[in-house]
């Protein structure tokens, strides 16, 4: 009850102090992050009210893949697709409005470079796009289908779950649509409201036969996307749309792959394990710093990267070490993927747990229009959850 009251007060105050969020974060993390994150530039008072709930934290420059170039998320996706079209003569990219470059500019320049029979628009029909993509894949060509927003993927749900995922199984390995990759922009964006902000990974996690992958930044995105394309299973690649412009890193120009089903430990720690994916990773990194400063708690941050099949070993190994687990995602809490992780971890690591596993997720409501700042699992809610776990 008290916690609920505290939550309401915090909720009420957060409106007033959201302008303080930006300045607070900036003063904590110094000028370096201020320079890197375009979200923290000087703003007027009205605009600061809509500051994003995270500060983008770029990866260090990868040195093992050759020369790098500064790219943001959509440019790294374009680079991956460019590499694919160049090396694989059967690759085709299709979807709504991809020809002129796509509504998020992920396919800019590809049609001019590779021709209109390799990069083409489809009419407005998600079910048709995915069904068509499955056919292309089964016949042997590499199909990269784009669904314009993850919120629109549901007409294609039957095709993905019933046709794509089960093809190899029901044909006894005679046919498969491993050449299919579906890309879709994913996650909250600040003003998307009900139909431009959804995170549907949990629906697809329930379907054996497909792989679901979510990157946290440009370097990961290019590597993971190339892995998905070369993977011999149908893959769904969700791209956090809020990071398309906000996430800028030095990305290798040559193709490279990052293995699927391998979670990455971003930061080692001894007291709490924090698991997240996509945009939420950047929130968690901030939370880890805050926990260290304010509570003296050392956090281990893990980016799950592949949702299905997920890396149980890395997460369980970490929980065995720390004894506490916090999982966070934007999707609603009931039936969200955190529930699966929580359940598996308590099975494997029951005796190692010092406190109940905590999930900080979206509410069980449709993604709201005006209430978005209250809905999203921001760093304060996560910090509160860590406090409870430490004091359990």
């Amino acid at each position: 009850m008290a916690a609920a009251a505290r939550f309401f007060i915090r909720g009420a105050n957060s409106r007033l102090s959201i302008s303080g969020f930006g300045t607070g974060a900036q003063s904590c993390f110094g000028a370096a992050l201020l320079r890197l994150s375009p979200g923290c530039s000087s703003r007027t008072k009205t605009q600061r009210r809509h500051a994003s709930h995270f500060t983008y934290q770029p990866d260090p420059v990868p040195t093992q893949y050759g020369p790098t170039q500064k790219m943001n998320l959509f440019q790294s996706v374009t680079s991956a697709l460019d590499n694919t079209l160049a090396s694989d003569p059967t690759a085709v990219i299709f979807g709504e409005d991809v020809a002129f470059g796509g509504v998020f500019r992920c396919t800019v320049g590809l049609r001019d470079k590779y021709g209109k029979d390799r990069v083409f628009n489809t009419p407005l029909c998600e079910q048709g796009i995915v069904g068509f993509g499955i056919g292309v894949a089964v016949a042997g060509a590499t199909a990269i289908a784009e669904i314009q927003f993850a919120d629109y993927i549901y007409p294609a749900f039957d095709q993905i779950v019933n046709e794509a995922a089960k093809y190899r199984y029901r044909s006894g390995n005679l046919f498969d649509c491993g050449n299919l990759t579906i890309r879709a922009p994913w996650g909250c964006v600040g003003h998307g409201s009900l139909y431009h902000s959804q995170s549907p990974e949990a629906f697809f996690a329930h379907c054996p036969g497909i792989k679901v992958v979510i990157p946290r930044g440009p370097v990961q995105a290019k590597g993971l996307l190339l892995s998905c394309i070369s993977d011999k299973n149908p893959c769904i690649f969700f791209e956090p749309k809020i990071l398309y412009r906000a996430a800028v890193e030095q990305v290798p120009v040559e193709p490279y792959t990052i293995p699927l089903s391998q979670a990455e430990v971003l930061q080692e720690g001894s007291d709490v394990t924090l698991v997240a994916w996509g945009t939420q990773i950047h929130v968690m990194r901030e939370v880890a710093n805050m926990a260290q400063e304010k509570l003296g708690v050392s956090c281990e941050v893990i980016d799950l990267q592949t949702i299905l099949p997920w890396d149980t070993e890395t997460v369980c190994k970490s929980v065995v070490k720390t004894g506490r687990l916090l999982i966070s995602h934007e999707a609603p809490i009931t039936g969200g993927f955190a529930a699966e992780i929580s359940s598996t971890v308590q099975e494997e690591c029951f005796l190692n747990l010092e406190a109940p596993i905590s999930r900080v997720c979206g509410y069980d409501t449709p993604f709201p229009h005006i209430f978005e700042p209250f809905y999203i699992p921001d760093k304060w809610k996560c910090l509160e959850a860590i406090k409870r776990m430490i004091n359990y």
Binding site: C125, L194, R359, I370, R388
Partner: protein
């Protein structure tokens, strides 16, 4: 003098059903205006129909003024929304309807408020013609508690009595509309459902499923394809194998209508409504129209079409200008009168915008309300298991 008397008597007769006292006053003040006139409208192309809507239509002065006022209000409202969006007072998505006013007004003119209507996301115009007030619409755009959906829906999700929205996923509203029509038929209320979608959505599978069901069960539904030539940024030639959208229903009779002429739309809708109400089953109308703005506020609207094209449509086929010219050239209204209407409309919009900017946002409790129907109130799980919010319905 003789014609003057005939005109006065015409006005009195026309106004007989309305306020008698007003008719006498209006006869005295506006006696020099024509009470009604006959206009010629473009012939509609037909598909599987033996008859077509009339090409000579009658419009009275009152009707003309009402259409003018409604269209002008819609136009001003959309332009105000454009302004507020650029000032970041409206956020999120905003799909503007200016240029297409004749469609909404023409359709509403031939159906009753007891009939039903459903459309996709370009819904501000229909919300207004179906009974929403400008204040409610603008407050919904800015997400305030005075909004028509309590501020929880935003631009794409506006509803009012017998208007089912306001739907984000294109094509998904069409089977819904057929369902509404089935309910009407079942309950024997002689109502019909107007079910709108765009040229982009016309390629969705669900629509063809709906055509089949509607024709099979002879549902009283008027399918309306608002063809504004571009599905977001894709022109119709590049999206559809057949751009004769009125023929796409195949076994459903179809009409192709000039959607920039409010009288043509009105006449076609009257024809279609009669077809439905007489139990002949569904009918499909393609309204050829145009939108001046881009797909939404984040689309400049000029990367896939030329400014000259927009200018040409604005100067030659603008629905409000066309109506104004018709009324002025037939002496049905004076320039001053129309200007007065403009001034009133402007004031109404200003007041609504003021309200929309100053009304408070919905309270936090609203976040969890109306998820389910629940009595007693349900606990909604929040971000942690110990933070629960109540949901009421």
């Amino acid at each position: 003098c003789g014609t003057m008397l005939t005109n006065i008597s015409n006005v009195l007769r026309a106004c007989a059903q309305r306020n008698g006292a007003a008719a006498v006053i209006s006869a005295r003040t506006y006696a020099d205006f024509t009470a009604q006139a006959t206009f010629e409208v473009k012939k509609c192309d037909t598909h599987k129909l033996d008859e077509a809507p009339a090409t000579e239509v009658v419009m009275t002065r009152e009707e003309g003024l009402q259409y003018y006022r409604t269209m002008q209000t819609m136009r001003r409202m959309e332009l105000k929304a454009d302004q507020l969006y650029k000032q970041k007072i409206i956020r999120g998505f905003c799909h503007l309807y200016d240029g297409q006013e004749a469609c909404a007004v023409g359709i509403e003119a031939s159906i009753n408020l007891s009939d039903h209507l459903i459309t996709a996301y370009r819904a501000h115009g229909y919300t207004y013609t179906r009974g929403g007030t400008v204040k409610e619409i603008m407050a919904e755009l800015t997400g305030r508690r005075g909004g028509i959906a309590k501020g929880k829906g935003g631009s794409m999700h506006m509803y009012c009595k017998n208007f089912y929205g306001g739907n984000g996923i294109v094509g998904a509203q069409v089977p819904l509309g057929a369902g509404v029509a089935l309910a009407c038929k079942h309950q024997g209320r002689n109502e019909l459902c107007v079910c709108l979608y765009g040229d982009g959505a016309a390629n969705q599978g669900q629509i063809f499923e709906t055509y089949n069901m509607a024709a099979l069960w002879k549902l009283p539904v008027i399918f309306v394809c608002e063809n504004n030539r571009y599905g977001m940024g894709t022109s119709v030639e590049r999206a559809a194998a057949s751009t004769d959208y009125y023929k796409r229903g195949e076994f459903i009779p179809g009409l192709r209508v000039d959607g920039m002429d409010v009288l043509c739309v009105r006449e076609a809708t009257r024809f279609a409504a009669e077809h439905c109400r007489s139990g002949k089953g569904p009918i499909l109308m393609e309204l050829q129209t145009y939108r001046y703005h881009g797909h939404s506020m984040s689309d400049p609207g000029v990367s896939y079409r030329t400014r000259e094209e927009i200018q040409e449509v604005r100067s030659k086929s603008d629905p409000i200008s066309m109506l104004k010219d018709r009324m002025l050239s037939n002496n049905m209204a004076s320039v001053e009168e129309l200007k007065e209407i403009d001034v009133e409309v402007r004031k109404e919009i200003e007041d609504a915008a003021q309200f929309a900017t100053t009304d408070p946002e919905p309270p936090l409790e609203e976040l969890c309300n109306h998820i389910f129907y629940n009595n007693p109130p349900l606990d909604v799980r929040g971000t942690h298991p110990w933070s629960k919010l109540k949901s009421v319905s």
